[in-house]
């Protein structure tokens, strides 16, 4: 359908629209008009992505400025889904275009998705490699400029990638025809035409209207430097499913992209790489000394250049530019420098007690012992890159550890505040064999995202679960224009949230550390699963607070014979450490749901499955949250981050942890809905969910449907309520949703007219306010309406 918000024509690819979608689009437009940022929480399954794309594309196509859209999501399935959504939207727009001219405009609109070489490579020699890092390295060996030059000058002398070569023969800017290409489409097109999909997408980026990729490509300075540098400042940036950027765990890209871990095996490998480097330098010295001299000359030039425009290069994503310290300009000096640094860290790792220090004190100590200055350290990663290029090294994956040490050096010398170095000699408190890890950890999520806010005029942060809204601007240090959460309008309760606090035997259940392995609790958790597997059709998804707990409880359930009971009713699939294995299990789970056999999927909140996989319709008729998904508070890194949060932003630790846990629980249960005719049970099984202060931290759209009776149930009571719910929900809905939770075009126009009236009234109120304290006209009208 087509409607107007103010004077902007919106094409929405459905016949109806949810009121919350309409409200969402209005707020989004307000943000774009004001060229500001916003935080929007929209209930899961109410078509957030389609509303977002529909509005922004309408905006792009209507205004001549043609602002680009950078759409970031977390996982590849989500990226692919967003691309499919966009593709369908564009097909709809083309179909409903009124003039030929408009039609051409719609068909030329271009959108692409970007992911790694590993996911986009079609060269069978390279693609067969299992590790992404190896694929990257082998790809670079076949495609870097010096190899290409050599290969073209002297065909057959070096191995080149045919797909990449074919791409070079095409006219730049026309590598792929206009339109929307999902990742699968691009792969297929590459295969058909014999061109490299990865570089096709990379090289088309300046010419396209929408790019969809993961958070990393914009937030990780190392990656952003390469792929997102050329994005213009007026681009619209969207972070979808952005709830994690307020997290303090490694799932938060903002802090993840600025943190690094070093282990002993890594340092060993780095040491070996240093030796290899010096050997290579010796070799080059004898064969082609000019090469090294050239590099030295270039670096000296670069130094002069960089001094002149130091501020400019520095500003880009907080990434150090090409200004390398004079002390490491000579290749052999740099290698000696690296060697010293690696040795220093190795020595530090021999300590058998925990050490926590700031970057400044680390640098001081480093200087005292090894005379290494901060400046050369800061440009360590750049210098290494340059050296590797000069030496024309192959198989870069073998130098990965050394590169990691170099980026560690760069980070530690770049940032003073908001970081901490923690050395943990033992993996756990009771371990006796040392396995030291040197954490360089970012405490402040605002640091990585700050350049994005500074550079782009409109940043949209949105998710289904982003409560509390005001915490995000506080933590990420920005001022939003709009900050909104939308309730869910339903004509009938499509989902039933239930809080189970005790088993049928009245023993309280909880995943609290002290009781979680109590056999009574384990059995009661188990009987919840058994009972629900008996009554719920098709799919049930169960989430546990951690892998450790899931793995131990699965074993315990098996020994108690609980799983044997479940096997009678449903198949059982479990998330495993291996991603591919889990994907196959997931696919089989879906087949079992489609087939009617029904299945149970056991997985972990914040785990691989909980991000980006939807369990709508028959794939998830019930989702059970076993326990509250609190973070592991014994973690030293988490403790440090919580402390920083308290000191810097006055956010209390317990408050933050509570919000984080509830947000994650909501994130898990929210996966079961898509659309308002879909239905599902949401079971929160832990007595701590019964507390009102805990529940208040859930997003409004879930919390509004938890009744007082449903907030403190025993298993048998919950089963009774669930049965009742399923019986009612399976009936054909008699009420017409249209007008209430589903709007037609007329409903939108009605709402707009009403809004306009209200606005007019408000204006009028200003004018003819008699000041006599009597009832205003508006109040009287409201009164009338109520009758």
């Amino acid at each position: 359908m087509k409607f107007f918000i103010d004077n902007l024509p919106i094409i929405f690819p459905y016949d109806r629209i949810y009121p919350e979608q309409y409200a969402y689009m209005c707020d989004l437009k307000r943000t774009l008009d004001a060229t500001g940022h916003c935080v929007l929480e929209m209930p899961s399954g109410t078509g957030k992505t389609v509303s977002l794309l529909s509005l922004i594309v309408s905006y792009q196509q209507f205004f001549p400025t043609k602002r680009k859209l950078i759409y970031c999501s977390r996982t590849v399935p989500e990226i692919e889904k967003a691309l499919a959504e966009l593709k369908r939207l564009m097909e709809y727009r083309t179909k409903s275009a009124e003039t030929e001219e408009q039609k051409t405009k719609e068909t030329n609109f271009m959108g692409l998705g970007l992911t790694s070489r590993k996911n986009l490579c079609i060269n069978p020699q390279v693609a067969k490699e299992k590790k992404g890092k190896v694929v990257d390295a082998r790809c670079r060996d076949l495609t870097n400029s010096s190899v290409c030059q050599k290969g073209r000058e002297n065909p057959g002398s070096v191995e080149l990638c045919d797909w990449h070569e074919n791409l070079g023969k095409l006219e730049p800017g026309h590598l792929i025809p206009g339109g929307i290409w999902t990742l699968a489409d691009v792969l297929q097109y590459g295969r058909d035409k014999g061109i490299c999909p990865y570089f096709a997408v990379r090289r088309m980026m300046p010419f396209i209207d929408v790019i969809i990729y993961s958070f990393h490509y914009l937030l990780d300075p190392k990656v952003a430097e390469q792929v997102s540098k050329e994005m213009s400042k007026d681009a619209i940036v969207v972070f979808d499913e952005a709830h994690n950027i307020g997290s303090l765990l490694p799932d938060n890209v903002c802090i993840e992209s600025l943190s690094i871990d070093l282990t002993r095996p890594m340092l060993e490998a780095a040491g070996r790489s240093v030796t290899k480097l010096s050997d290579k330098i010796e070799e080059v010295k004898t064969t082609d000394v000019a090469k090294l001299q050239d590099e030295y000359a270039r670096l000296v030039e670069g130094l002069q250049e960089s001094i002149s425009d130091e501020n400019d290069t520095d500003a880009v994503m907080g990434n150090p530019g090409m200004n390398i310290d004079s002390s490491t300009m000579k290749a052999e000096h740099f290698v000696a420098f690296l060697k010293r640094f690696v040795e220093y860290i190795k020595t530090r790792m021999r300590v058998l007690h925990v050490v926590a220090e700031t970057p400044l004190s680390f640098l001081q100590h480093l200087k005292d012992i090894t005379y290494i200055e901060r400046r050369p350290l800061r440009f360590c990663a750049e210098r290494l890159q340059s050296l590797i290029r000069t030496l024309e090294l192959n198989r870069l994956d073998e130098f990965a550890s050394l590169q990691k040490v170099a980026s560690f050096a760069t980070l530690v010398a770049t940032y003073e505040k908001g970081f901490l170095l923690i050395l943990e000699p033992f993996e756990t408190d009771n371990a006796t064999v040392p396995n030291p890890v040197f954490h360089f950890t970012c405490l402040d999520p605002s640091l990585a995202i700050k350049p994005v806010f500074e550079r782009f005029s409109s940043v949209v942060i949105t998710s289904g679960t982003i409560s509390p809204l005001d915490m995000y601007p506080k933590m990420l240090q920005f001022t939003p224009v709009v900050q909104e959460t939308y309730p869910m309008t339903l004509t009938r309760n499509a989902f039933l949230p239930l809080v189970i606090t005790r088993g049928s035997d009245q023993v309280a259940i909880s995943s609290r550390f002290e009781v979680r392995n109590d056999p009574a609790v384990v059995r009661n958790f188990g009987s919840i699963l058994i009972e629900y597997s008996k009554i719920v059709p098709d799919g049930i998804v169960a989430f546990f607070p951690s892998y450790l707990y899931m793995e131990s409880i699965v074993a315990a359930w098996n020994d108690m014979g609980i799983l044997n009971e479940v096997w009678k009713h449903k198949l059982i699939f479990v998330e495993t450490p291996d991603a591919n294995e889990t994907s196959i299990a997931l696919e089989n789970y879906r087949r079992a749901c489609d087939n009617g056999r029904g299945a149970v999927l056991l997985s972990v909140a914040r785990g691989k499955v909980s991000e980006g996989i939807d369990f709508d319709h028959n794939y998830g008729r019930a989702v059970i949250m076993f326990g509250v998904p609190y973070q592991y508070t014994e973690s030293r890194i988490l403790k440090a981050r919580l402390e920083y949060l308290r000191d810097a932003y006055r956010i209390r630790e317990s408050e933050f942890l509570g919000f984080d846990a509830m947000r994650n629980a909501a994130q898990c249960v929210g996966r079961v809905l898509r659309g308002k005719t879909d239905w599902g049970l949401m079971i929160f099984a832990d007595k701590r969910f019964a507390r009102a202060d805990k529940r208040a931290k859930l997003p409004r759209w879930i919390n509004q449907y938890i009744t007082e009776t449903a907030s403190n149930l025993s298993t048998d009571m919950a089963i009774t309520l669930s049965k009742l719910f399923m019986r009612t929900i399976s009936q054909n809905p008699n009420e017409n949703q249209t007008g209430v939770s589903l709007w037609t075009l007329e409903d939108i126009e009605k709402a707009q007219a009403k809004q306009k009236e209200l606005a007019l009234d408000a204006e009028k109120d200003h004018d003819d306010d008699y000041g006599d304290g009597g009832l205003s006209d508006a109040a009287l009208m409201d009164f009338d309406l109520d009758v």
Partner: protein, 600 residues
């Protein structure tokens, strides 16, 4: 001396004796006594029950007319002989009982065949080739098995391709599953009011549903193959090996099948094979549970089985990595490879696979589930499966279906013959209607205006007749009072009476149902059901009307009982009034009907 048809050693009431079937009586003589202590005339036998096939004792129970307890006989010969003897008795008695039944009720069709006796019983009209036995009622013709089956089929609803025995089983299942229906069946059929066939007439769908439910192919049970040893005294353990278990083990662990085919009879006997398997490390690995580590000490090294032992599948990556590509919407590996991993490692609780012992178990679950799924759906490579399944296109997975306008679909064109004529006819009709209702709007308006002219004056002139007003008000008050009355009175009808009332009501309803069914046979007769002939229906009608005519009497009796209990008889009467009315309606209908065709 009467001729003896068959004899057998049998005990009754735990006393040994001899059971004999003569041509007139069934008799039992206690050992050591001369005269038989039990003597049952043929005519007295009403039904027969036998113990299950394979039960420890071979028993036979005979119920008598008017005495359901009857007599119990246990055959005391060695089992094989006893069963043969019992079969002989059963066969003979069944024939006798069936004759009795048909004699006792001229209209009734054969009823419940005795449990376990799969021989259908029936009256038969055709002569028989069997030697007729002396009969208590010599006028009747002897039964014939062959024909009886056929005639039985015609009368009772039978599912095509089913023998009466399984049909009987189905009926029993339906009755057991549905207690209320079972009660009705007991009230009406067992007590002999209506026949089995009549009872099921019009309820065929229940049997069909049951048959369909049973006919549905059951998939494999989901449970894991986990032979749990039973502990036997003396510290030994015992595992019972059934062919099914062997099959399951082979299915679940192909390695065992391999071991079996390579070793059995060449190196090991079957028995040795299983004995050693259950003691081997291989078996314990297959049990793949935490508790297997506890059992480690009872496990012996075994040179044969240890060859087949594989490394535990407890690494982070599975032992046998699978190359197949999954659908992109569930591809977790793609996310993992989407960007270089950075950041601090996850805390200990969030690192998957740290509980090494649980990993083989988890993998086993996934494999087991997949195997079950493939056994039901067939093993097709995923890529092909995706091609075959048209529902899996990417748009369907992101579509929100309730946002589509349901009326916007194109719909399906109705293929209609002579469409033009149909619409023309409709049009001409509509035209006629239009001509009838053509009114002059101005005229209508004027008329309406005139009717409301001076409404205020008219309103003041409005007078309500006092008497009628009062009456209306009184009636309303009365109504309210009555309703209040009903609500305030508690239900004080005694349980026994209440149950009688209910059963009276349901029985009457059933009779009425049968009656009307016979009067107006359902139009859309099920294909599988044989249609009753008009004569049969008339007979049935007559019989039913006989029962129905008794309904008022029964109600009266209940009213009397109610009086005895000291309950307001009116209430019982009112409660049963609809039934009485319905019965009267049926009776009137019966009286006014055309004279029935002469019956045979």
């Amino acid at each position: 001396m009467p001729t003896t048809v068959c004899t057998a050693k049998a005990s009754c009431k735990k006393l040994p004796g001899l059971l004999e079937l003569t041509d007139t009586h069934l008799q039992w003589t206690q050992d050591g006594k001369k005269a038989p202590s039990i003597r049952v005339a043929y005519a007295e036998a009403s039904s027969l029950f036998c113990s299950k096939e394979g039960a420890a004792q071979v028993k036979l129970k005979l119920s008598l007319v008017g005495d359901d307890t009857g007599h119990n006989f246990t055959f005391t010969s060695p089992p094989a002989v006893a069963i043969a003897e019992r079969e002989k008795f059963k066969q003979e008695l069944t024939t006798i009982i069936s004759r009795n039944r048909s004699a006792s009720d001229p209209f009734s069709r054969p009823v419940i065949p005795p449990i376990n006796a799969s021989i259908p019983l029936s009256t038969a009209q055709t002569p028989t080739t069997q030697t007729p036995r002396p009969l208590p009622t010599p006028s009747r013709q002897p039964p014939s098995r062959a024909v009886s089956v056929a005639s039985d089929r015609r009368a009772t609803p039978v599912i095509v391709g089913n023998d009466p025995a399984s049909e009987f089983r189905l009926r029993k299942k339906v009755l057991l599953a549905n207690p209320e229906l079972g009660q009705l069946h007991r009230d009406l059929v067992v007590s002999g009011h209506i026949t089995e066939a009549e009872f099921w007439d019009g309820r065929e769908h229940l049997i069909l549903a049951q048959a369909a439910a049973e006919g549905q192919k059951k998939g494999k049970s989901g449970q894991l193959v986990d032979p749990r040893p039973e502990a036997v005294e003396g510290g030994e353990i015992k595992i019972r090996i059934t062919p099914q278990l062997v099959h399951d083990i082979f299915d679940e662990y192909p390695i065992v099948q391999k071991a079996y085919s390579e070793n059995v009879t060449s190196k090991l006997t079957e028995e040795q094979f299983w004995k050693r398997y259950f003691q081997s490390k291989l078996f314990n690995a297959h049990r793949a549970s935490i508790r297997s580590s506890a059992a480690q000490h009872v496990v012996k090294d075994d040179p044969i089985f240890d060859k087949y032992l594989e490394r535990d599948d407890d690494e982070l990556e599975p032992r046998r990595p699978r190359e197949e590509h999954v659908e992109v919407f569930v591809d977790l590996a793609a996310t993992l490879e989407d960007h270089e991993e950075t950041g601090n490692e996850k805390d200990v609780t969030m690192r998957a696979g740290r509980q090494k012992a649980a990993l083989p178990l988890i993998r086993k679950f996934n494999e087991h589930s997949e195997r079950l799924l493939n056994s039901a759906l067939g093993e097709i490579p995923p890529a092909k499966r995706r091609r075959l399944d048209p529902g899996e296109d990417i748009y369907s997975q992101i579509d929100i279906d309730d946002l589509h306008d349901p009326e916007a679909t194109n719909g399906i064109i109705l293929e209609m013959q002579d469409r033009q004529r149909y619409f023309e006819a409709r049009m001409s009709e509509a035209n006629q209607d239009g001509s009838l209702q053509k009114l002059d709007p101005a005229f209508v308006l004027a008329k309406a205006r005139a009717s409301v002219d001076q409404w205020d004056v008219k309103l003041t002139q409005l007078k309500i007749e006092r008497k009628q007003g009062d009456a209306a008000l009184l009636a309303m008050t009365q109504n309210v009072a009555n309703r209040l009355d009903v609500r305030s009175k508690k239900n004080d009808i005694p349980d026994g009476l209440f149950r009688q009332m209910t059963s009276c009501q349901t029985a009457a309803n059933e009779f009425l149902r049968q009656f009307w069914l016979a009067t107006y046979p359902p139009a859309g007769e099920l294909q599988t059901v044989a249609v009753a002939t008009p004569q049969q229906r008339a007979a049935k009608q007559a019989k039913m009307i006989g029962y129905i005519s008794k309904t008022p009497e029964r109600v009266n009796a209940l009213v009397q009982v109610a009086k005895q209990y000291g309950i307001d008889a009116n209430r019982v009467e009112i409660a049963l009034k609809p039934v009485v009315q319905a019965s009267e309606h049926a009776l009137t209908f019966w009286r006014n009907r055309k004279p029935p065709k002469p019956q045979q």
